[in-house]
Symmetry: C2
Subunit: 476 residues, 2 copies
Amino acid sequence: MRDLTIDTLNPAFLKVEYAVRGELAIKAETLRDQLKKPGHGLPFDKVISSNIGNPQQKGLDQPPITFTRQVAALMEWPALADLAPDAFPKDVIARAKELRDEIGSIGAYSHSQGVPFIRKSVAKFIQDRDGFPSDPNLIFLTGGASAGVSLMISMLISSPTSGILIPIPQYPLYTATLAQNSGVGIPYYLDESSGWSTSVASIEAAIEKSRKDGIVPKALVIINPGNPTGALLDEATQTALVKLCEEHSLVILADEVYQVNLHQRQTHPFTSFKKVVRQTQSPVPLVSFHSISKGVSGECGRRGGYFEVTNLSKEVVALIYKMVSVGLCPALQGQIGVDSMVRPPKEGEESYPLWKKETDTIHQALASRTKIMAERLNALPGVSCVDSPGALYLFPQIKLSNKAIEAAKEAGKEPDVFYALGLLDETGICVVAGSGFGQKEGEWHYRLTCLCPGVEEYVGKLEKFHQGWVEKYGKE
Amino acid sequence: MRDLTIDTLNPAFLKVEYAVRGELAIKAETLRDQLKKPGHGLPFDKVISSNIGNPQQKGLDQPPITFTRQVAALMEWPALADLAPDAFPKDVIARAKELRDEIGSIGAYSHSQGVPFIRKSVAKFIQDRDGFPSDPNLIFLTGGASAGVSLMISMLISSPTSGILIPIPQYPLYTATLAQNSGVGIPYYLDESSGWSTSVASIEAAIEKSRKDGIVPKALVIINPGNPTGALLDEATQTALVKLCEEHSLVILADEVYQVNLHQRQTHPFTSFKKVVRQTQSPVPLVSFHSISKGVSGECGRRGGYFEVTNLSKEVVALIYKMVSVGLCPALQGQIGVDSMVRPPKEGEESYPLWKKETDTIHQALASRTKIMAERLNALPGVSCVDSPGALYLFPQIKLSNKAIEAAKEAGKEPDVFYALGLLDETGICVVAGSGFGQKEGEWHYRLTCLCPGVEEYVGKLEKFHQGWVEKYGKE
């Protein structure tokens, strides 16, 4: 028989790249294994995975919200409410009973679009957030935001000339999904010099150029707050973007998974695209994504999220429903996680004080770490870093000398990958090189999460490595 | 702006069909809502969803395995082990602690391929089952078997002439995924007259025909035990099929999710394709799928499963890893469900007696319902039904008279859909028409699950409806 080789498989798969779990992350795993061996010979005693926004991972250990986990435990084994009634606050027992009455066993498939009762909770959350109505029938619960993004992109790509506008730098899920579906990514560049701002003119230019190249732009991806940039859009820009999409018949794909990760709320608040579309009474089709993996919930492993569709025809909504029905339903514990996120304990309820304390702690720690890290990174020679007002990341720019670029070339690596590999080898800190997100020609960055506790020790390691690098390769 | 219409979207999506959650299932939901209204005017007081193998759904209420849920609850909120130590058996507390030490928080993303420790448990389960080694690095945990099947089919379809051999009747996930990926389904027919057996000659004929049509067959799908047929392959046939795939350079996709749903173990045992490939020392590439949704676990809503790859090159395995990494990881509660399935309590452990009692009850109830239903259906005029030795379904053939076929035509429905809609309207029982699975031209079937408790009342309804149908439309 002939061997099954990768050349005989879907050629689109070969083009997929996903740096967040790529070379650096794989090497970090190898080092973590090596650390377990006595006399491992490594210059550090732990690997810190700053490559991925995964707050509850070992070593970072952001504690889960107790309320969320208590409800989840009671849904797993409802008998606990009788066997250990004193272990649970009364509002938790009531909440689990309410969910249980609606859902039945969490071991059963739910409605493919998600439990109707939970979709109602989501609609109410959106309505309270935006001041505009939301329809549970237009909400799809998903296994994390990624599953929804992937579905929508695969639906929008109708031919190899279909294009989707993506910000550069971007979260590589977008380029990966486009590659997988043989669509074209149309890059538009964010402006680092003004805090990674989004310019309508640069998007228009990108649309024009793509049309000349025979590409049909179908949608605009906006990540707000930004990933990896942490930037926040203001309402005026959002309104202009909505108008632009109207003019060019583009669907807006609004990735809003970091909507509560706000470190400078007074100056940089979050406004949803749903609100902007409604308040401008725009007919522009919009798909908005949210997730329980980020925010203060940080429940990545639960795989829960939702998307809401606005201004889509009944036929298109039915098509989406048909496609999700083939996958049966999102995981029930993810769906319940969404319910806990959109219906947290209210003031006056037994669980409220603890919930408030836990979420305040997470917000404050993230804001403070982000600020300290940005300041200290900015103080390093050849490093400049926008002080992110949102999300979980910093995306510092690093100037690399010709000597460093030459050394990278010799090692067969992109210069920023070479830098990040050096950092990993010396400190055990795993970041993602900027080339994984996209950046302007000749510029170099890396993304790191602001999730690591013990920020002093952590930043100290980054500083020490960078100083050693500059000594070895020169400043620029 | 131009409207976003379905004609502007991925044309492959329009061709996808998935009858298990199609017209009949949607109508059943509407009826269920109607029942909640006072004076609903329907001739039944409950809707019975026999369209989908979903044992724990409301109305069927197959109880979950207590051990599985106790472990899951402790993973959600580990503090329970101290707060309510008496509520849990000691082996459950030990198991949860062991998993917790390995995994950390279930709110963190795991390795994209699944928690390494759980993959080791799966490998041991496979080794104990087959008597041949299994490698944890070749096991991928998934969100149910469907996610894995969908990934493998999308990987194997490298051009619009790529074909995959699928049994007819089949589980419609296969045709749906092929349609979505613009691949070609190459049908091979199972022989109803000999208990839905699989014939190597008929597969060879299908390969030959497809080649003449310019199609390149890439893989053979085998569902064993069968869905919707419940048939089991014997080792001699499996060996011949492996040889056939070797000759024609086909990948075997072995859907083995019903491997423990065996109602006639003495005469119809289960043998995995992994075992057959190993004992024949065949180099044929094989992907074997398993799930926690079926079996005695019935944990559909948890979304857990795995696939094991055999005889794939390192490059192909790396490609699969890259693709699953874009989706980050399968839901942790699904992964833990896999662990509980492959490592149930052992004799002598505190949880064993209850686990044994619960699983025996499920096995016996399913076997007994399947037998009674097959007997009673066979006694109806114009109905013949293979007494399934496996899986969760029966797939009776119904002879329909010309008068009935005419009436269906007038209603704009396939004749078997027309029958199934009549059954739903009159009894509240929702089944799936045979046309959703594929059947020979001019034959009609439906699939129903054997999960409903109160088999007497249930079969009574089926009989009464069929007798009324025969009175109205004649026997054949």
